[in-house]
């Protein structure tokens, strides 16, 4: 039925782009969703503090010169028995300030998470576009590979890739390469959903006449996929990317917790939790608790933001 009215913003010429953006339905929906606002603020605070960690952190936990072993196992907000130093969130066994290690650990976690999602996104979008646009055998091969990979838990896939990569890298580069291998492993275990979503969106867009219009003037498939179809399939990708980011951060933490992720010289939140759990039963709870809470806050708020984004960008639910 064509009679359903679609109220549209009348185009107003003399407004700045920012003002127009602020009036969009998207911003409107955002302003009306407390969950989105809170999780957005939490994400912003965490990301900014990770980015500016060197400015915020009281010490650089990875600089051996700044460490004092005498400060080990200081409880939060209590002066150390030997040195009299006080630490906001306490210290670990080596006297590293937990607050600072969390900030630096979050840097690693976020970097690995974002890089892995970007990698998975590029791979997934490329393969999804190709299989959706060309169809036939190309599609069959790509999508069946994806199906097979989906039958394995992604953490297993990541561990497998991690193991292979570890086997082929020379020992002296292992610690250096660990972060990159981690990104590769998580990214490769995560491309499938991007590929699936992009493929189905591509199938829809491909059949629209603006693609036919580009084909009939002799545009090459590559140009059509990149310039015409890609911009129109991006909004579901954005949603998946956000939710994947939360999952990737957790996957990284899991791998690091299992000891196959970030090395102790570059500890991520997962590594910190692994170190911390060793002290849980000896009474030094803060070494585990604070990294764990940070991880939870980060993953949860990113995930909630992703959920909201999915609802906001899905026209059927509005």
């Amino acid at each position: 039925m064509t009679d359903t009215p679609v109220p549209k913003t009348a185009p107003v010429r003399d407004k700045s782009r920012f003002a127009v953006a602020m009036e969009s339905d998207f911003v409107y929906a955002f302003k009306r969703s407390p969950v989105a606002i809170v999780s957005c603020i939490v994400v912003l605070i965490l990301v900014l503090s990770a980015v500016f960690a060197p400015l915020i952190a009281t010490t650089n936990p990875f600089d051996p010169a700044s460490l004092n072993l005498m400060n080990g196992f200081t409880a939060p907000m209590e002066p150390n028995a030997f040195t009299g130093d006080t630490f906001l969130l306490g210290t670990d066994d080596q006297g590293r300030d937990v607050f600072s290690t969390i900030l630096y650990g979050m840097r690693i976690s976020l970097f690995v998470g974002v890089a892995a999602v970007l990698f998975a996104m590029v791979l997934g979008i490329t393969l999804g576009l190709i299989s959706g646009y060309f169809g036939g055998w190309t599609e069959t091969i790509i999508m069946r590979t994806a199906d097979v990979q989906l039958t394995f838990p992604s953490i297993l896939v990541a561990m497998l890739i991690f193991g292979i990569a570890k086997g082929v890298t020379p020992v002296e580069y292992r610690d250096q390469m660990a972060i990159w291998v981690l990104i590769l492993a998580i990214g490769l275990s995560d491309w499938v959903q991007f590929a699936r979503v992009v493929r189905s969106a591509t199938l829809v867009e491909k059949s629209k006449d603006y693609v036919a219009a580009a084909r009939l003037i002799g545009r090459k498939p590559g140009a059509i996929m990149l310039r015409h179809i890609l911009p129109n399939v991006l909004s579901p990708v954005l949603v998946i990317a956000t939710i994947s980011l939360a999952l990737a951060i957790i996957a990284e933490a899991t791998l690091s917790f299992l000891g196959v992720g970030a090395p102790p010289t570059q500890p991520s939140l997962g590594t910190l939790i692994r170190i911390g759990q060793g002290f849980l039963f000896s009474g030094e709870w803060w070494i585990l608790l604070f990294p764990a809470v940070t991880l939870l806050a980060l993953a949860l708020s990113v995930n909630l933001l992703g959920d909201w984004l999915r609802d906001a960008l899905n026209p059927r639910l509005r």
Binding site: K8, P11, K208, D209, Y210, A212, A213, A214, R215, L216, I217, G218, R219, H228, P231, N232
Partner: protein, 320 residues
């Protein structure tokens, strides 16, 4: 001088189930013959219309003309070049630049993420031409304003979008425009605007149109020559006056009779019998025979060839 020569054009689509299902269910491949042995020519600077109901193959013919689909058999020659078989890339590019298309759905035929300016000049950019001020000039020619170039498609109504589509089609200075149901998605008052615009542009640019439509009134108003399609075959071809006053083929007669008329208040007609058969399994002989009031035995077995009757051509054993 004929700009387009369509000879013996056929196209079938593979509509079989996936390979594994066919093996399990022991079924052969299924083909849908969308277009069968269609012949017609389009004179330069004229409007040739193809009319037919759903499944008649009219859109498939249009898409083969512009090169979006390749013929299964037969060929299309435009300016003497057969796009599907020509190997000289320069010739193909030259002919491609001379063909454009206007689509039915003005909402799906403009990329929603592109600005109107970029949409309009794309055909020229694809050939590496100069696009300075082109979009603005074309927008004014189709009755919009130059400032609209910076807007996005969603800011326009259906009729305005169709004007943008026309501007895009004109940008590469084509000689032939295939119009696939250009006004079917538009309201009557807007349809008149678009049809008038198309007529004006035809005169000022020296265009040739292939107009594809199911709407007999539109076709009658616009066309210089009309081809009637039924189940993928041309059943009649004539100029509008002859076709509407003296239709030769029983199918054309049925169409004319069934079309709603503005001056037929409370008209009591016996509506036509039956519906269009499944094109995967068309009737033998003349495909229209199960619905034809005049059908004789010969119609059920022998397919009538398209033959000349006066200035018309019709594919019916009984037509004269």
């Amino acid at each position: 001088m004929d700009l387009v020569k369509v000879k013996n054009l056929s196209r079938s689509f593979d509509v079989s189930k996936p390979w594994l299902n066919r093996v399990i269910e022991r079924q052969p491949k299924l083909f849908l013959k969308a277009v069968s042995e269609v012949d017609f020519d389009i004179a330069e600077r004229s409007t040739y219309a193809l009319v037919g109901e759903s499944g008649s193959g009219k859109s498939t013919i249009g898409r083969m003309l512009v090169g979006l689909l390749t013929p299964s058999d037969g060929n299309v020659e435009i300016e003497g070049v057969d796009l599907a078989h020509e190997t000289d890339a320069a010739k193909v590019a030259a002919v491609r630049a001379d063909i454009q298309m206007i689509f039915q759905d003005p909402y799906a035929s403009l990329n929603p993420r592109w600005r109107v300016r970029d949409i309009i000049v794309e055909p020229v950019l694809a050939q590496g031409g100069d696009t300075a001020g082109l979009a603005e000039r074309l927008l004014e020619q189709v009755g919009l304003s130059a400032e609209d170039a910076g807007k996005f498609p969603h800011e326009f109504s259906g009729g305005q979008r169709q004007r943008i589509c026309i501007a895009r089609a004109l940008s590469s200075e084509p000689r032939l425009i295939v119009c696939d149901e250009p006004t079917s998605a538009l309201d009557v008052s807007v349809q008149a605007q678009v049809l008038n615009l198309m007529s004006d542009l035809k005169d000022s640019f020296g265009l040739t149109y292939l107009l594809i439509s199911h709407d007999l009134t539109v076709v009658q108003h616009m066309a210089d020559r009309i081809g009637v399609l039924y189940l993928g075959r041309l059943v009649e071809e004539a100029d509008p006056d002859t076709l509407f006053s003296d239709p030769k083929h029983p199918y054309t007669q049925m169409l004319l009779e069934a079309a709603p008329r503005l001056d037929a208040f409370g008209r009591e007609v016996t509506p036509p019998e039956g519906e269009i058969p499944n094109p995967i399994d068309p009737p033998t002989g003349c495909a229209f025979h199960p619905r034809c009031p005049l059908a004789v035995d010969r119609c059920r077995t022998e397919r009538p060839e398209l033959r000349e009757i006066g200035t018309s051509r019709a594919a019916c054993h009984l037509a004269e």
